[in-house]
Symmetry: C2
Subunit: 401 residues, 2 copies
C-alpha cells in the first residue's frame, strides 16, 4: 500500500537553506541538497529555446557526472544573461565543489526568479560554508520555503511504501505559481527516494510521472526559461527497483507519480491570483495531441478564465474556445460539453435539458471539471488550470519575472 | 490623393438604427443597411467551428443572392443556439424581405452579443417598419453606436479619393473590444464605397485589405463565433474599378486598406481594459507563418501583457515568450529584440548597451513597437495588440459574452 507520509526525510538525502541576500535581505534564498555517494539522478528540463544558464549546465553535468549536490537559488533566474550568465553559473558550482570536495560536474545548478539580471556569484560563494554546515535529513520544509518566489505556500509531498518488508520513501518539493505551462518539466521540482534505482530506469520513471502531472498544468500558458524537475534515488533503504512493470516496480512508480500529481495540483491551487482549480478533460479526439490542443485552448482562454473567476456558467465562451482550437473539420454537432455532470452543450448548442441554476451550482465549487467530448475518436487528455483574477494582474503588474 | 473624409455618407448606401429591446431597453441595438439596386458585396467570416447562425446564413445568401440589405443586431450573438438559432435567423430575414419587397437571400443577417441565448425574433419583426422608414445616407454615426457591445467608443473611418475627375468614397464602421483574435475577419465591420466594382474584384480587394489589418490584431486570443467583415460597392459615383493593379485600382485598394487599418487600430485602442496599443513586428523569420506564430505568442502572453500594463520594461518576459514560440531549432544567439529603437536583447541575453531608463522611456508611451529579429530568414509579420489590465478582468468577470 502507498501511504501519505507526514514526515519528509529520505535516507541518504540531506538539505539546508540560508539567506544569501540574492535579491531580498533576510529571507532564505539558497538551498543545497546532498545525495549520498552511490545515488542516481534523473531530470527533465524546459523546452524554452531561451533556457537559463543553469538549465544548460545542469543538463551537461547530469550527462557527464554522478550528481552529489543540487545548488538552488531563488530571486534570480540567471536567464537571458548570455555568456556571462553561463560563466557565473559554472563559477557557483566550482565554489561548491571545492568546499564540498567533489568534482565540478557533480554539482547541478538551478535558479528561479527575475530574468535578465546578473547572478551575484560572490554572495553565493560566501554562503557556501554555512550551507554545507547546515545539511540535515530534516531540511525539506525549510528548503521548500527557500525556493519560493511568488508562491504563497510551500509545496511538499511524500509517500511511504512497503516493498518486501522494507520501507521506501518518496518525497518531493516544488515551486511555481506563474509562468506555468511546463513543457517536459515544470518550474522547479525536486523528488528523492531512498530506493536503489538504476539511472535509466529512474529517468523512465520520472518521465512517466511527469507527463500527466507537471506536463499537464497551466496557469498562464507561459513556459518558463528555468523549468526543471529532478528525481534522486539514494539507495539507502536497501530496496532495489529493477523494472517498472513488476508489482513492486509499479507500486514504486505509482508513489513517484502520486507525489508529482500532488505537487502539480498544489502549483495550480497556488497559481498567481487563483481562486479555483479546474480540470479540463477532453475525450473522443482522433489523437492525444488533438485532445491536448483542445484542452489547452480552453485552459488558456482569458475569457474562459475570467468567467471561472466570476463563477459564471458562461458556457458560450467554452464553446467559442473549442471552436477556435486548431482542429481540421470539427463537426460541432458531435461535440458535448459538461460542467462536472451537468451537460451544457450538445448538438452544436445549449443542451435542451440545461438549466442555468445547475451550471451555477458547479461553477461555485472551488474544484470542478470541464468535460469535453469531441465525438470523433477515442483519444483523451487532461489539463489542470486555474482562473484569472484581479490578483493575477496585480501580481504580474507589480512583480518582475 | 487619398484624403481622410469628415463626412461619412456614401452614395447609394442608406442606414438606420433603432431600439428593439433585444437585451437592454432604451438603447439602439438593431441596424439596417440598404444597398442600392445594382451594387455588389464581398465578405469574409470567422473560422471558428462553432460559428453563429447568422454567419452560416449570411455566407449562404452572399453566394446565392445579390444583397440589398444587411440586418445587424447587438445584445445577442445567436451563437451556440443550434437548429432553433438557424430558424430564428432565417425568420428575421424573412420579415425584413417581406417588408422591404426583396428576396429572402438578398438579406444578410449579423448578430453580436451574448452567446447561447435565443434570438427574440418578434422584437426584431416589430422594429422592421421603423427601421425601413428611418433609412438615410446620414445614418452611419448612429448605426456605428448601435452595433457596440463592450466597446466604449464607436468606430468609423472614411476616405475620399479623386479618380479621373470624379470623387469616390470609402466608409467603414466596426465594433469589437473583447473576444478579438480575428482569423479571416474581425468581429463586425462594414465598409461601403460608391465605386462600381465587380463582385470578384471586390472580394479580392477586401481580402487584401483585411490581411494586415483585421487579421493581424488580438486583444485576448479568443476568436469570436460571429466575426464578419463586409465590403459593399453601390456604384453610384459612376466610377468603375476594373482591376487592382492599375494606378486607379491601386489607389482604390489603398483607400479600402486604409479604412480597414484605421478601424482595426480603433478596435485595439478600445480593447477591453486596454491602456496601450502595441505593435509586435517580427522579421528575419523563415516564413510568414513562423513570423506570425512568434508575434502572436508574444502578443498573447499574459505575462507580457501585464508588464505592458505596468509600463515595466520587463523584457525577460518577451524573451521567454519568444523562446516558447513553436519554432524548430531557434538559435537564441541570432535573436535581437527592441522596444521602438532601444535594443534590449542581443546574443541570447541583455544587450550590453541597454539601460533600464531607456526601456522605461519607451514602455511609458501610449503606443510603441516590440521589434523582434529572429536572424534566420527574410520573412516578416506584424500583429497589433494591447495590454491586460485590472479592467480586462473586471469587464469579463461582469459581462457575459
Amino acid at each position: 500500500m502507498v501511504e501519505k507520509a507526514e514526515e519528509f526525510s529520505v535516507g541518504g538525502i540531506r538539505l539546508s537553506a540560508c539567506a544569501a541576500g540574492i535579491r531580498y535581505r533576510g529571507r532564505d534564498d539558497l538551498v543545497l541538497m546532498e545525495i549520498a555517494e552511490g545515488g542516481t539522478c534523473a531530470g527533465v528540463f524546459t523546452t524554452n529555446a531561451f533556457c537559463a544558464a543553469p538549465v544548460i549546465v545542469a543538463r551537461e553535468h547530469l550527462v557527464s557526472g554522478s550528481p552529489r549536490y543540487l545548488l538552488i537559488n531563488s530571486g534570480n533566474a540567471n536567464a537571458g544573461t548570455g555568456e556571462p550568465g553561463l560563466r557565473a553559473c559554472r563559477e557557483s558550482c566550482r565554489f561548491l565543489a571545492a568546499a564540498a570536495g567533489c568534482a565540478l560536474n557533480q554539482v547541478l545548478p538551478f535558479s528561479t526568479g527575475v530574468i535578465g539580471q546578473d547572478l551575484p556569484v560572490e554572495r553565493i560563494a560566501s554562503a557556501v560554508p554555512e550551507l554545507i554546515a547546515g545539511l540535515s535529513v530534516d531540511g525539506w520544509e525549510r528548503a521548500s520555503r527557500a525556493i519560493m518566489t511568488t508562491d504563497t505556500v510551500p509545496k511538499l509531498a511524500s509517500r511511504r511504501l512497503d516493498l518486501g518488508g522494507r520501507t521506501v520513501r518518496v518525497t518531493g518539493m516544488a515551486k511555481g505559481s506563474g509562468m506555468i505551462r511546463p513543457d517536459m518539466a515544470t518550474m522547479l521540482a525536486y523528488l528523492a527516494t531512498d530506493a536503489q534505482v538504476p539511472k535509466a530506469l529512474l529517468q523512465a520513471c520520472l518521465e512517466q510521472a511527469v507527463a500527466p502531472s507537471f506536463n499537464a498544468i497551466t496557469v498562464d500558458g507561459d513556459t518558463s526559461t528555468n523549468d526543471a524537475c529532478i528525481l534522486v534515488a539514494s539507495g539507502q533503504s536497501g530496496v532495489g527497483i529493477a523494472d517498472l512493470e513488476s508489482g513492486e516496480g509499479r507500486r514504486f512508480a505509482a508513489a513517484v507519480a502520486d507525489v508529482c500529481m500532488e505537487l502539480a495540483r498544489a502549483i495550480i491551487r497556488d497559481g498567481e491570483g487563483a481562486t479555483k482549480l479546474v480540470e479540463v478533460a477532453v475525450r473522443e479526439a482522433t489523437s492525444v495531441e488533438e485532445a491536448r490542443a483542445v484542452a489547452y485552448t480552453v485552459a488558456h482562454s482569458p475569457l474562459v478564465k475570467t468567467a471561472l473567476f466570476a463563477s459564471d456558467p458562461n458556457w458560450g465562451r467554452i464553446l467559442a474556445a473549442v471552436g477556435r482550437a486548431p482542429l481540421a473539420n470539427l463537426d460541432v454537432n458531435g461535440v458535448r460539453i459538461w460542467l462536472d455532470d451537468v451537460c451544457i452543450v450538445s448538438k452544436g448548442g445549449r443542451d435542451p435539458a440545461y438549466e442555468e441554476a445547475a451550471g451555477q451550482g458547479v461553477m461555485g465549487r472551488p474544484e470542478f471539471q470541464i468535460r469535453i467530448a469531441l465525438g470523433r475518436g477515442a483519444a483523451a487528455a487532461k489539463v489542470l488550470t486555474c482562473d484569472f483574477s484581479f490578483d493575477y494582474v496585480k501580481i504580474n503588474a507589480e512583480y518582475r519575472s
